[in-house]
Symmetry: C2
Subunit: 153 residues, 2 copies
């Protein structure tokens, strides 16, 4: 029986260990925590201790990011389950399916764009009226300042 830990529960990990094992920087973990993506408890000395499951959380976050989901949305998705909960296989399946659909949509858009581009390489007009490339149709929501996220309108 360890001291800071009720019987049976796996031991809590300090941030350095999480960083090493997950492959992300300590500062990133701080950042994720500040954004509510992961949680920790504190020692008497105010140092963070993480349940091992956060390694899984970080893995999930990274995968979601690779598919192009912004952190904010990832947080919302994770929020659906109690913070720091076990994140079961079923839950992962749900999340991953949503993200896959999202990714699929993105791929479709890009593929359509590529086809249009191919067409247009033949014609070369870029005419405002005729060219499909010039009439995005959907995806015309570029408002406000800030970095433009490439493809995800």
């Amino acid at each position: 029986m360890t001291k800071e830990n009720p019987a049976g529960a796996p031991p809590l990990l300090p941030i350095g260990v999480i960083a090493r094992r997950s492959g992300v920087a300590v500062s990133t973990i701080h950042f994720y925590e500040s954004r509510g993506l992961i949680t920790s408890v504190r020692t008497e000395g105010n140092q963070r201790r993480y349940a091992p499951v956060v390694l899984r959380y970080i893995a999930v976050i990274k995968v979601a990011q690779r598919t192009g989901i912004p952190l904010e949305e990832i947080r919302e998705a994770l929020r659906r389950y109690p913070p720091g909960s076990k994140l079961s296989a079923a839950q992962w399946k749900t999340l991953a399916s949503e993200w896959r659909d999202d990714l699929d949509e993105r791929i479709k858009r890009l593929t359509r764009l590529r086809d249009e581009l191919n067409q247009c390489i033949g014609c070369g007009c870029l005419s405002l009226e005729d060219c499909p490339l010039r009439n995005p149709g959907d995806s015309l929501g570029s408002k406000g300042p800030g970095a433009r996220i490439l493809e995800r309108p």
Copy 2:
């Protein structure tokens, strides 16, 4: 014969007209010019006047952006031709082909990712050792601060 214009050349346009016809904000045109993507001449009164071809330039820029090419690269690509030059059909073909290939590569990466995700939805392990999702293989170049461009490693 107009005054500011040698015989035969099409008349130069003020920035407001370019903005209206191209669909981008005046501030954006300023910005593109400051980044060397387009050029203008000035009137005696220091106002910008654009050759009509910049409408085409802006069109090209927008298309390239849609395919995910960053402005910096777009500028480099355009730099290969004399600034403000006619941008012939052949030149457009060359640029567009490059960008299409780039886009193609991106699509392939995303497709691979989607397939891996599909696999992983079945297994749900996210194991550091086994899971293909956890071993990006390529694309591990995330260094330094600044916005992470989603997909384009």
